[in-house]
């Protein structure tokens, strides 16, 4: 993994259909970024610090070794936008408790199977006999409910606004079709309060944000305005290909050089200004904000999660099953919170690579391939690859 240009080989350099992964464009962009950093006087000692909020970007940055091909004057901070990584242990315990009911078929995205709860993971609970099944889509869970009318099918809904429309539309579909044995264990979270928590955290050093591409495809650009207006930080929504990220970096540096702070869109081919109205409508119909929601490593963040509205109570696993909602404190040595806020680098956590490895994860950041610690373990070792 030497450079951003690897994937372009197959797309064909100069191919007009591949404007987002062209080799020459990549080189030009890197050159432009180097010039911008020079003019800003940024170097390894005084880097411009950019936070990618979304785990997809964390993954892309490591996968393509982007930090390694950029000058040391820019530093990536990996934000809290991997929904699997911020799942508190108590929530996994709740899942296992629900799945322990013999009537239940518990369904989940594969990503959540290996996240540690306080005693075990969903994978271990499955090995111990619970009926836990990995599904690709909440629609698959609904299909299981149709096929097993004598069982209770529970879907573990998690993710930011990207996956929220899918679960909301599945609940609406269950209602339309009168499927009574389907319910949702809702652990969806919202991006904006999360970014606010980062901005308000002591030791915050973020100069600009690479905004999440697919969350923004749903919510549009308006919800980010407070970041520019109140916190005076620029945010550029970006796609997930190497050149998308590089272009976003350049757009951020351009704003920083002018002392500007605005919300901009690098990913206009997918992200409309106003988001996706049909998806937003489904979200608003089914979900309402919780007063607060517990995050792994970050503690409780006000109005950061959603729950199922009263109107759809019969599809709400929290109401149908006795979910305890216990808070389990993270192991004291675990520093996921500091890493999530960009205050510490993964390898600065005392457990990194010793007690905490991809095989024996202590924190969820080591589980998901979008988690900073796992990405660093897998692709790390390059200069500046953090």
């Amino acid at each position: 993994m030497t450079s951003v240009t690897d994937p372009a080989a197959s797309a064909g350099s100069g191919d007009p259909t591949a404007p987002f992964h062209d080799r020459d464009t990549g080189r030009r962009l890197i050159g432009r970024i180097a010039g911008q950093l020079d003019r800003l006087g940024a170097d390894a000692d005084r880097p411009v610090r950019l936070m990618e909020v979304c785990g997809g970007h964390t993954h892309a940055i490591f996968r393509h070794g982007l930090a390694g091909v950029l000058p040391a004057g820019v530093e990536f901070l990996h934000g809290p936008g991997c929904p699997v990584c911020v799942l508190p242990m108590g929530r996994i315990d709740d899942c296992i408790a629900i799945a322990g009911d013999p009537r239940v078929i518990f369904t989940t995205f594969g990503d959540a199977m290996r996240v540690p709860g306080s005693r075990k993971t969903l994978l271990q609970a499955k090995a111990d006999g619970a009926d836990i099944r990995m599904v690709y889509s909440p629609l698959d869970a609904l299909e299981l409910a149709r096929r097993h009318p004598d069982r209770e099918v529970v879907f573990f809904g998690l993710g930011f606004e990207t996956t929220m429309p899918a679960t909301a539309l599945t609940v609406l579909r269950a209602e339309r079709e009168g499927i009574a044995n389907f319910s949702l264990f809702c652990n969806h979270i919202t991006i904006v309060p999360t970014i606010r928590a980062v901005l308000d955290s002591p030791g915050m050093t973020v100069d600009g944000f690479i905004g999440p591409g697919h969350v923004s495809m749903i919510i549009g650009l308006r919800p980010y305005r407070f970041i520019a207006e109140r916190y005076r930080r620029p945010l550029v929504v970006a796609g997930f290909e190497p050149l998308d990220v590089l272009q976003a970096v350049s757009m951020l540096l351009e704003q920083i050089a002018r002392g500007a702070a605005a919300v901009a869109n690098q990913y206009a081919r997918i992200v409309p200004e106003d988001g996706n109205p049909a998806a937003l409508e489904a979200i608003a119909a089914v979900f309402e904000l919780r007063e607060f929601f517990e995050w792994r490593g970050l503690g409780s963040i006000d109005r950061s999660g959603v729950r199922v509205r009263e109107r759809y109570a019969r599809f709400d696993a929290e109401r149908r099953f006795a979910v305890q909602g216990v808070t389990v404190v993270d192991p004291t040595a675990c520093q996921c919170g500091e890493v999530l806020k960009g205050v510490l680098k993964p390898w600065q956590c005392k457990l990194f690579g010793t007690a905490c490895t991809p095989e024996t994860p202590v924190g969820a950041l080591m589980v998901s391939s979008e988690g900073a610690c796992a990405a660093y373990r897998q692709y790390g070792g390059l200069r500046g690859a953090a």
Partner: protein, 101 residues
């Protein structure tokens, strides 16, 4: 789960229910297309369009050339295989021709 994958809408399964067959690099499955339907339009108009599919839901229309280019890059870095394997292993929702789970 968060990245999604481009696919092409090849047939409408159930217009009223907003379900269509989407082809993702040769693997087909039923996808919910309610979020990409033109307001006031008919679902037939979607046939042939490329969409970005997240966990069984089409959430954005994409330009054909861009979709192909994205797939090439995803394939080159091995990212597409994971997603396609997940789709292949997924449960085909009725009323489409069903595949044993």
């Amino acid at each position: 789960m968060c990245l999604g994958i481009p696919g092409r809408i090849v047939a409408i399964v159930d217009a009223a229910a907003g379900l269509a067959t989407v082809d993702v690099s040769g693997v087909r499955r039923t996808v919910d297309v309610q979020c990409v339907a033109e307001p006031g339009g008919t679902p037939d108009q979607l046939v042939g369009r490329w969409v970005l599919v997240h966990v069984g839901f089409a959430l954005s229309i994409i330009d054909e050339e861009e979709a192909r280019a994205t797939l090439e890059v995803l394939a080159a870095i091995g990212e597409a295989e994971v997603e396609i394997a997940a789709i292949r292993a997924s449960i085909e929702p009725s009323p489409a021709p069903s595949v044993a789970p």
